[in-house]
């Protein structure tokens, strides 16, 4: 197959793919309305294409991309479940898609009503007392939550809490968010069970601890069964407990963060609540808190006053604003559509079936690959490619070989505390047939590693491009199209 052209490379002066409204006001020359010194000297060199050129180009690009609709996508910790089509339709209703955030509240009561109901429903699902929909994504929610915790401590005159505890298995966003919020990160070790090492936690928690950030189930897919004791240790030291909701697809209707002792929770609506992921976003990362943190929630919050919804800006202790307007409303509409479709009973089944699917795959694969934690997992699990590495084949090679079978590979080399890690999250929307076919492919690859390792080492064989030279990309960065640039081969 030939190289895919860039849209700039099919540009031809004179072609257009737009259609402006008929002019109804005087067409005064730009030079008469603005001083020449303010005007652009050169036109913006955007591509000039016809509408069909445009459609063919982006259709060709879409054909070079793998989504959940294309095939199985068991990317651990990302919850790549089916994205219901009706959600897309609902978000595109003119009354949701074409409303301005600064319209008088009387003219957007339906939107505010939806937000209010979503806040309430997420509070129930997480066991928290109040929810803000403002954060744009998971990492943004983490930072928001940590700023709330900072405000809480400061309001009590407690300025010595400069540290945030983060387990070694945590997502990279946790320590990064702690830094952006102005905290130092202290890493808590995992024990041989893959869980928080209680002794290490107790050693590190103290009167300088602002919070412990925890994902439960953790990134190994294991439930932190000492959670009650962990919460007690952190609370007794005066710290707060932060729940990273990336893995909440495992716990709906099973155990709520609020009941586990967490004070602040973020949810990734693009994961558990069918977002969709959009090739990397937009997401939505609502944050829920317990009673004592409510005063610090960012402004505004949607409130119900009798039969009318209002935006409450009168929040003197709030951390301020974390995002313009009210968050990623369009994503929140999709999540609301999903929650109403499933209802409480449906959501509870979602988590149970996600857990069963993950355990089934673990059971089928643990003979051929090392399972560093051979206990029942929750919605995801990790394998180690240690045995294959000893034969000269790395986890990266296994991931690339999976491409030949039409699958998106699992998350690899994360969490960091598992050697040659392979992290698999099937989700509840995949059928047993799909799980079986994927497991068959994994077992075949394990066999290939032993018998015909070159097949794996040289994979992928069937994709439109082969492995990329990432070193070249980083050493000589080419980050934009330049008309006269030569492609270095």
């Amino acid at each position: 197959m030939n190289e895919q052209t860039l849209i700039f490379e099919i540009s031809k002066p004179g072609r257009i793919a737009y259609s402006l409204p008929l002019p109804t006001v005087d067409e005064v020359a730009v030079e008469e309305l603005l001083p020449t010194s303010m005007l652009r000297k050169e036109d913006v060199a955007l591509p000039e294409v016809s509408e069909l050129d445009l459609v063919r180009h982006y259709t060709a690009l879409s054909n070079r991309n793998h989504g959940v609709d294309s095939g199985f996508y068991p990317l651990g910790s990302c919850t790549m479940k089916y994205n219901p089509k009706i959600n897309e339709d609902m978000a595109r209703l003119p009354g949701f898609a074409h409303i301005h955030p600064l319209q008088p509240v009387e003219s957007v009561q339906g939107a505010l009503g939806l937000m209010y109901d979503l806040q309430e429903k997420l509070a129930v699902i997480t066991g928290m007392d109040e929810v803000t929909l403002q954060p744009a994504a998971g990492a943004h929610g983490e930072w928001t939550g940590l700023m709330l915790i900072k405000a809480y401590h400061h309001a009590r005159g407690d300025f010595k809490r400069t540290k945030v505890l983060v387990p070694d298995s945590a997502h990279g966003t946790n320590p990064a968010s702690a830094s952006v919020a102005g905290f130092d990160t202290v890493t808590v070790l995992s024990d041989e069970r893959g869980l928080v090492d209680l002794a290490d936690l107790k050693k590190k928690v103290g009167d300088d601890t602002a919070a412990l950030m925890l994902t439960n189930p953790n990134t190994l897919g294991l439930f932190e069964s000492d959670i009650v004791e962990i919460a007690k240790a952190v609370h007794e030291a005066g710290g707060k407990l932060y729940y990273d909701g990336a893995n909440s697809n495992a716990i709906m209707g099973i155990a709520r963060p609020g009941d586990m002792g967490f004070d602040v929770v973020h949810l990734n609506l693009h994961k558990t609540f069918t977002g969709p992921h959009g090739g990397g976003g937009p997401g939505s990362g609502p944050v829920g808190v317990k009673q004592d943190l409510i005063p610090y929630l960012p402004k505004p919050i949607v409130r119900k006053e009798e039969e009318r919804y209002v935006l409450d800006y009168d929040r003197p202790e709030a951390i301020g604003r974390v995002k313009p307007f009210y968050g990623n409303f369009g994503i929140n509409v999709r999540a609301y559509s999903y929650i109403r479709t499933m209802g409480g009973a449906g959501l509870a089944r979602v988590s149970k079936e996600a857990v069963l699917n993950a355990n089934y795959m673990l059971a089928r694969l643990k003979g051929a690959y090392d399972a560093p934690y051979d206990v029942y997992c929750k919605h995801e699990f990790v394998l180690s490619g240690k045995r294959q590495k000893a034969l000269g084949v790395r986890t990266l090679d296994i991931a690339k070989r999976l491409l030949d079978f039409g699958y998106h590979p699992p998350t690899i080399y994360f969490p960091l505390n598992v050697e040659e890690c392979i992290m698999i999250e099937p989700t509840e929307t995949e059928s047993k047939e799909t799980l079986d076919a994927f497991c068959d492919a994994m077992l075949q690859i394990a066999k290939e590693v032993e018998e015909t390792p070159d097949v794996v080492l040289n994979a992928p064989h069937t994709t439109i491009v082969k492995r990329m030279d990432e070193t070249l990309a980083a050493r000589k960065p080419v980050l934009r199209y330049e008309p006269k640039q030569e492609v270095h081969a």
Binding site: E88, P94, P101, Q103, G253, R256, G280, T463
Partner: protein
């Protein structure tokens, strides 16, 4: 009850449990302490809704909102009612794009990677900057991230914001600054534009941030502001409306070290303020400090051109607490929407669309002046400006609703001295007739 998103049958469940060697799903949950188990609280979430009932329920909520397809809107202030070519939505619905995640596996993600590379290229063209990233949450959080970058780069602790920057950006920057304990100072406006001489009185300046055109609609003289900023050894940051750059000189040509903004004008619906799509650009010198994801061109084993995520050593999943930002998910799908819209417009269309905005807003300005209204700090503007009304602008906007018009933004809630002022916007979608209706309605405002 069966759910159309859940394929597991009773038979599947039994077969799977048997392979696992468990008697029931409950066995798989036995490690969860009984004291934290949920006892049916999800019932409060309500009963499942069939598709038709869901459509009815959500349509009812949507219909309670006055949408800008039905009512002419004069609101801007960061979110705009623009023409979106029909192809944008059709291409966005290609599910290979919207059901994918971050392109971690380049061999099966070349479509998304190339689309981002093209987005980065178009944004560089538009802003005149060297490097653009793959997107930020929105223009305002991009602005806050730019301020954080400037403080880290200059090792200075004061962020200076013009009062001509969006008030919500002031709020967001203050929240961000509270994390590492940075200072925020402001520069007042004089006759509608930033007074840079006030910078002399501010110490330890990391950056100066202005908006282009500014929040009140005026086009700032960037080069002079840039020179004064650079004389203090600080970075000059411009928040630019990308559509205005169809006719206004690019910030990259006028001394900007960082240009950020929001691509919402390009094919992204207003959607009650989000999701939009922030863009972030800078110079080659600051390339390795840029937040978020970057796509770079490279070759595969056969020498074939392709694209990968690159310079990842800046990012949270590698660098953890030392990362340049905590951003992970961004606004990829909306960056795609913006790319498609920019490609549809092309070289000529972006200039024509920008020109039409300028002309429509100018026409409205003239009509208001003729009707006896005062334009506040009148001067060079794009598609927004401020008008003084005879009554409180919040009350005016209520009365406009009765005429079926979504009025401009009352400024009293941002600045008590501006109680009677309204920030109005007229895009290419406003017709001459709608402009007349608006002016007539404003002429008929009552003190009741």
């Amino acid at each position: 009850m069966d759910f159309r998103y859940l394929p597991m049958t009773a038979e599947d469940e039994q077969a799977m449990l048997q392979t696992i060697g468990a008697a029931s799903i409950e066995d798989l949950l036995a490690d969860i302490p009984a004291s934290v188990r949920d006892n049916g609280t999800l019932e409060e979430v309500g009963v499942p809704l069939p598709e038709t009932d869901l459509i009815r329920t959500l349509s009812k909520l949507a219909d309670q909102n006055m949408n800008t397809k039905q009512y002419p809107s004069f609101l801007g202030a960061g979110i705009y009612d623009h023409y979106a070519p029909a192809v944008v939505n059709h291409m966005l619905l290609r599910s290979e794009f919207y059901t994918a995640y971050t392109p971690y596996q380049p061999e099966i993600s070349q479509g998304e990677l190339q689309a981002i590379f093209e987005f980065q290229s178009m944004i560089c063209e538009l802003t005149g900057m060297d490097v653009a990233n793959s997107s930020m949450y929105d223009g305002i959080t991009a602005l806050a991230e730019a301020a954080m970058l400037a403080c880290a780069h200059t090792k200075k602790k004061t962020i200076v914001l013009s009062d001509g920057v969006h008030p919500e950006a002031h709020d967001v920057v203050r929240t961000y600054a509270n994390g590492p304990g940075l200072n925020v100072e402001t520069l007042a406006l004089e006759q509608g534009v930033t007074r840079i001489d006030q910078l002399d009185a501010i110490e330890d300046v990391a950056c100066v941030i202005v908006q282009y055109p500014n929040f009140y609609g005026r086009v700032e003289e960037l080069q002079a502001l840039a020179d004064a900023t650079h004389a203090r050894g600080a970075l000059f940051i411009v928040s630019a409306n990308p559509l205005a750059l169809g006719i206004l000189e690019a910030p990259g040509k006028l001394g900007a070290d960082i240009t950020i903004g929001d691509c919402q004008p390009f094919g992204i619906p207003q959607s009650f303020g989000g999701p939009t799509c922030g863009y972030f650009t800078t110079t080659k010198a600051l390339m390795r400090k840029i937040p978020g994801r970057l796509v770079g061109q490279t070759v595969d084993e056969n020498g074939k051109r392709g694209f990968v995520l690159t310079l990842q050593a800046r990012e949270q999943h590698i660098r953890r607490d030392k990362a340049t930002s905590n951003i992970c998910s961004n606004q990829a799908l909306n960056a795609l929407a913006a790319s498609i819209a920019m490609s549809a417009l092309g070289k000529r269309g972006i200039r024509e669309l920008a020109t039409r905005n300028l002309q429509t807003a100018h026409a409205l300005k003239q009509k208001l002046k003729q009707a006896g209204f005062t334009i506040v700090d009148d001067g060079p503007s794009f598609n927004e400006f401020v008008v003084t009304l005879p009554i409180d602008a919040t009350r005016a906007s209520q009365q406009l609703l009765d005429h079926g018009i979504i009025g401009g933004l009352p400024l009293g809630s941002y600045d008590a001295a501006r109680q009677n002022e309204m920030l109005v916007c007229a895009t290419e979608l406003r017709t001459n007739e709608e402009l007349d209706q608006f002016v007539t309605a404003l002429g008929g405002l009552t003190h009741e």
